[in-house]
């Protein structure tokens, strides 16, 4: 196996196509189940804000969830490179091309999300929106004939300055342009360093990374407000940006680790040591606890203060037949399991344990996003079934194809990285 470059074999591409096909089949099965009520969840409740339910709604919501989730993982790859550069960390220099490759998803994921915003919000039957604030009838206090507007919502009308289509789209485009542009600059310098050597590129990347960190500090929160929080338009939480970031970060770290471990299995990165894995494992362990801390801080304050406008968010989830089990499973899978499982040194140093934890966490944090977005859009018509699995598989195949072809375009090891030697000798 070549040490220099990753070869994205035709066989691997083919199996990803099969995964995508399996996803499409699962989606079709899921649609049939919902359509004919075979799943037991497809009952027309008809009560959800007077909106009738159609299977397209569920498909659209799933597309949006996965779009947000995978863009998050991609931007965390850039974030990983950035904070390692900015903190002059040496240990990760050996495999930094792996998280670096994640940025390849950003332009595609951005266009996809932009397209999905229009498709999911404007083409669904029964005037369905993922974002409640897109309903134009909410904003005018009086109808044209002067009578009071029964749909008028003073709270949402008060948020109109921030939550309107034009500003929302400008922000979305700005996030992606900023993220993609910063990634591109870092990547270009990283590739130039491979050819020219010297320390100047490393210093340049450090400055660029610091700038990216400042940008990401703001945009990670605001993008979470836009894409996730504004679904529950009335509700708000000051912890939400960090909560989303923590979820993205754990998922991103799990994705980086999993990809690295599998590349090592296939013979790449022959000098990857258990010390590298140990540090990645510590990151996953630590930030799983960080996620729990943020999750609990958000829940605790709302639980304790017990203000109806805030508790409604948790009541929707806890008192629902569809979501209460996910609510508890979320805490178990994303906190109890990694906390107890990754606690020992050996679990963090062996590939087999890391593989298990990373797969579970990737699903766990998808579930976290599912729980954030589904109750506010589908209400009691949401469930986890074939359709959800299918959309995940579809996105997974697309994401991995883009990432791996990006990975195959540059040498796997940044051979002139000033910290490379330190990374190879990393020992803990």
């Amino acid at each position: 196996m070549s040490e220099d470059k990753f070869i994205f074999s035709a066989k691997a591409k083919k199996s990803l196509v099969y995964v995508a096909l399996a996803g499409i089949v699962a989606i079709i099965i899921g649609i049939l189940f919902v359509q004919f009520g075979g799943h037991g969840h497809g009952h027309e409740s008809g009560e959800e804000g007077g909106h009738a339910f159609h299977w397209i709604h569920r498909l659209y919501v799933n597309l949006w969830i996965n779009s947000v989730y995978f863009v998050g993982i991609a931007v965390i790859g850039v974030f990983f490179v950035a904070f390692n550069n900015a903190s002059q960390a040496g240990w990760s220099a050996y495999f930094k091309r792996v998280p670096e490759a994640f940025g390849n998803w950003l332009p595609i994921g951005g266009l996809l999300m932009l397209g999905l915003f229009f498709i999911t919000n404007y083409t669904a039957p029964h005037h369905f929106h993922i974002f409640h604030w897109l309903d134009h009838s909410l904003y005018n206090e009086f109808l044209e004939d002067g009578s009071p507007n029964p749909n008028y919502d003073s709270i949402i009308a008060g948020k109109h300055g921030y939550l309107n289509e034009m500003f929302f789209l400008i922000r979305m485009v700005a996030y992606f342009l900023l993220w993609w542009f910063m990634w591109k600059l870092i990547r270009t310098n990283s590739l130039k360093e491979d050819i020219d050597g010297g320390n100047q590129y490393w210093f340049k990347m450090r400055s660029l990374s610091a700038i990216f960190l400042v940008i990401f500090a703001v945009t990670s929160s605001t993008s979470a407000w836009d894409w996730v929080l504004s679904i529950d338009t009335h509700w708000f939480s000051t912890m939400f940006g960090w909560y989303n970031f923590a979820s993205w970060f754990v998922a991103g770290l799990a994705a980086i680790t999993l990809l690295l471990v599998y590349l090592h299995d296939f013979g790449y990165f022959p000098q990857l040591s258990s010390s590298h894995l140990h540090d990645l494992g510590k990151f996953i362990f630590g930030f799983s606890i960080f996620w729990t801390y943020i999750w609990f801080s958000q829940f605790m304050l709302i639980y304790y203060a017990n203000i109806p406008e805030e508790t409604v968010y948790f009541i929707e989830r806890l008192q629902s037949h569809n979501y209460s089990w996910i609510f508890y499973a979320n805490i178990f899978v994303n906190f109890v399991f990694p906390f107890l499982f990754l606690m020992t040194r050996d679990a963090k140093r062996h590939k087999i344990f890391l593989k298990l934890v990373c797969v579970v966490l990737l699903f766990g944090h998808w579930m976290d996003f599912y729980l954030m977005m589904t109750p506010g859009t589908l209400g009691e018509n949401g469930a986890i079934g074939f359709m959800e699995i299918g959309v995940i598989l579809l996105f997974f195949a697309g994401f991995l194809t883009v990432i791996l072809s990006g990975l195959s375009k540059a040498p796997l090891v940044a051979r002139n990285h000033p910290m490379l030697k330190e990374s190879l000798h990393h020992h803990i």
Binding site: M300, N306, R345
Partner: protein, 175 residues
């Protein structure tokens, strides 16, 4: 370390030499009592064949004790002994107990680790420390060999240390 009386000390000025020396000395069949160094030397633990510290298990045990104590205390106080309505919550409401439980877990885990470390290392107030060589806090690594635990002759051990790259070989006797 606290039992022996007569020691032979190998003094080294370079940590790479030291690690190689540890392997050589052990290879010659000499039992090393302890190595003192002014800074942590990577790979020294492995070279000496030290077992992994079990302090982490202690940390977990004390942490679990803290969790149990905190939960028992709060459930008993607020649920059984003196139930009070606070903020309209149940008498025994788990979410409100989490912060205190977390704090006590961390506190007992940390204090338990420190206490255990002191006990295991026999660190106590007014203890007279044994100083093998004052330069171990400055710029020299010192390998201490207890004569009582080695069957080889004194001169043979000295020779081994000399050959392994020690800049000095001294004898030290404690009362």
């Amino acid at each position: 370390m606290d039992t022996g009386k007569n020691y032979i000390l190998g003094v080294y000025s370079d940590e790479d030499v030291l690690i190689k020396a540890v392997k050589k000395v052990k290879g010659a069949g000499v039992k090393i009592e302890e190595v003192f160094s002014p800074f942590p030397v990577h790979g020294l633990d492995e070279a000496l064949g030290y077992k992994r510290s079990r302090l982490t298990i202690v940390a977990f045990m004390f942490g679990a004790l803290g969790t149990t104590l905190a939960l028992t205390m709060q459930f008993w106080m607020l649920g059984v002994d003196w139930p009070m309505i606070i903020g309209g919550k149940n008498f025994a409401s788990l979410p409100t107990f989490v912060p205190v439980t977390f704090e006590l877990t961390v506190l007992l885990s940390a204090l338990g680790m420190v206490g255990t470390f002191f006990a295991v290392s026999n660190l106590k107030p007014y203890k007279q420390p044994r100083i093998f060589d004052v330069r171990i806090t400055d710029d020299k690594h010192v390998m201490a060999i207890d004569l009582a635990t080695n069957s080889s002759k004194k001169d043979a051990i000295k020779k081994v240390l000399q050959d392994s790259g020690a800049v000095e070989v001294n004898e030290k006797t404690f009362e």
